[in-house]
Amino acid sequence: MSFPKVSGAKVSGAVTTDALGPRLTGRWSRRICAVVIVAGAAAVLAPLAWMISTSLKPESQVFRTPIEWVPSTVRTENYREAVSLIPFWRYALNSLVIAVPVVIGTVATSVAVAFAFARMRAPGLGWLFGLVIAAIMLPGEVTLVPSFLLFNELGWVGTYLPLTVPAWLGGGAFNIFLLRQYFLTIPREQDELARVEGHSHLSILLRVIVPQSWPAVAVVAAFEFVHVWNDFLGPLLYISEADRYTLPLGLNFYKDIYNTQWAHLMAASLLALLPCIVVFFLAQRAFTQGVVLTGRR
């Protein structure tokens, strides 16, 4: 009874539990299901495929009807031009400068806090965890403006600090919840062994828990990366100089400059999404396990 049962193990086609009952798993109904699923998958892919297709067309052909999926003229210069029409790499670097500390901070703090909730005993811990749950349900709007005022008082408006420091102060309520649930499923024998050997709590955390939690940690890190990379409202409020914009801010204003050249815009957007897609594929196995495990949105 080590890790919780995860769909990944079962889904490889071996067991067929048809919610509609075994009677309906005839070849034809299965075929229909397969067709519908594949059609659905095509529908899901269509927007991305369209994005790629548009990004490779010359601007004059972008509006052609009926639509062409495969561009008749492929124009890879769009990419080169897209990244020079706005300071694309500058913005990407800014996004990275924010993303790295946030991901590391989130992982570090949420792991530590979740560990305390999962493995340690102290008076009031239950209540505090209840607060964590409550915080998950708090709408962001309530803290939006006063946070701004607070950061204003501190003189942090116009810097990246309001965007990076909070990640180190609690790592996100949902991440804490997720990690705690995961930690609870790790058997305690190794903990106890280490404790008997005299290791400190921190040491147990780092040597025993974390190494066994890579799926959950990877999920937290990957989700946090995607979230902070694509964050819009935060940078919108706190970044005031155009050359300090993050990629989402830059893209938003790009859509107005020079009369929306859609092919270039799609090229730039695709490039902006690439890191997320890469992170997604890297963490994919852990991703879906993690989602299945906890329903992370």
Binding site: K5, S7, G13, A14, V15, T17, D18, A19, L20, G21, P22, L24, C33, V44, L45, A46, P47, L48, W50, F63, T65, I67, V113, A116, R121, A122, L125, G126, L131, I133, M137, P139, V142, L144, P146, P166, L169, G170, F177, R180, Q181, H201, N230, D231, F232, P248, N252, K255, W262, M266, S269, A272, I277, V279, F280, F287, V291, V292, G295, R297
Partner: protein, 324 residues
């Protein structure tokens, strides 16, 4: 095993921690442990007090003033004026609540139905399930401005993918985000693109339903729909509940898409609540008023969540034995 099935409200895990203490007075070891625990919790505690509790209290206080961002020195107490204005005089408050509620309801309902449907279909056992799963899950990896721009492009009336698809099946073209009727459905469609997230949660649960349940039911003469209604659905209800609550909360906070794609238009048809709040705080600089708006939303969501929890007793089925 704790999975998504447990609704957010139960602290199923903490129960395990509270083993009865062996001695009545706390040992030094357990005191040390307590301090260590607080130590581990300290960053979160600082964050919680400074960035959550502090701002919450501040925003409550501000909501009773006429604080203006550019004129802070001139602030005065106005009591419940902001709330009165918001609920009785400012038509855009109710309007944006309606817009947001319309969106959230549609998005959550469709996400549920489509997500469950996809999960059911996937549950029939397919080859290449890994690849399919990757594809359905891909939209979850991308979000934000870039995605909004992509959909803005897709929804272009004259040359976008959406209308091209309509043309393909012979349906009339729609103005999508440029039409007051279709702008919210367009946003819902956009959010439906990410249905893979919920689908896989449901799938995980579906796969853990033992086949012998179905076999037994089939032997008893239950048809496929009865099996679905009596076996599948009840067992999925915890996940449905979780998605419902979290879905409502997060959909009520929609901001980026509205800001990037439609800026609340056309004619305020897509004026989401958060967008209107943002406008009041950062365009009209009426911070006091915006704080009141935030609290109105908070109260509303709290009420909805309580209603959801209350009603859950009747329809959410926990494996631990009957409805709670």
């Amino acid at each position: 095993m704790s999975t998504a099935a447990a609704p957010a409200g139960t602290s199923a895990g903490t129960a395990a921690d509270d083993a009865p203490p062996r001695r009545r007075r706390r040992s030094r070891a357990s005191r040390r442990e307590a301090w260590a625990a607080y130590g581990f919790l300290s960053p979160w505690a600082i964050g919680f007090v400074g960035l959550t509790v502090g701002p919450i209290v501040a925003s409550l206080v501000l909501s009773f003033t006429d604080y203006n961002l550019l004129d802070a020195g001139d602030t005065s107490w106005v009591g419940t004026d902001n709330y009165r204005e918001a609920l009785t005089e400012d038509r855009l408050v109710l309007h944006s609540l309606k817009v947001t509620a319309y969106y959230a309801t549609l998005a959550v309902a469709l996400d549920l139905v489509v997500g469950l449907a996809v999960a059911l279909l996937l549950n029939t056992g397919l080859r290449a399930i890994g690849a399919i799963r990757t594809i359905y899950y891909l939209p979850a990896a991308v979000s934000g401005v870039a995605v909004s721009l992509l959909w803005l492009w897709i929804f272009q009336p004259s040359s976008g993918l959406a209308n091209a698809m309509l043309d393909l099946v012979g349906l009339p073209r729609i103005d999508w985000v440029y039409s007051t009727t279709w702008v919210i459905p367009a946003f819902v469609l956009m959010s439906l693109w990410g249905v893979g997230r919920s689908a896989f949660i449901y799938l995980a649960i579906l796969q853990r339903i033992p086949t012998n349940l179905y076999e037994a039911a089939a032997v008893d003469g239950a048809g496929p729909f009865t099996r679905f209604r009596r076996i599948t659905l009840p067992l999925v209800t915890p996940a449905i509940f979780l998605n419902l609550v979290l879905g409502i909360i997060s959909n009520f906070q929609t901001f980026t898409q509205a800001f990037v794609i439609s800026e609340g238009g056309p004619a305020n048809a897509s004026l989401f609540y958060t967008l209107y709040l943002y406008r009041n705080a950062f365009r009209y600089f009426r911070v006091g008023y915006a704080s009141a708006l935030a609290w109105i939303l908070f109260a509303l969501l709290l009420a909805l969540t309580l209603v959801a929890f209350r009603s859950s007793r009747r329809w959410v089925y926990y494996e631990a034995g009957g409805a709670r």
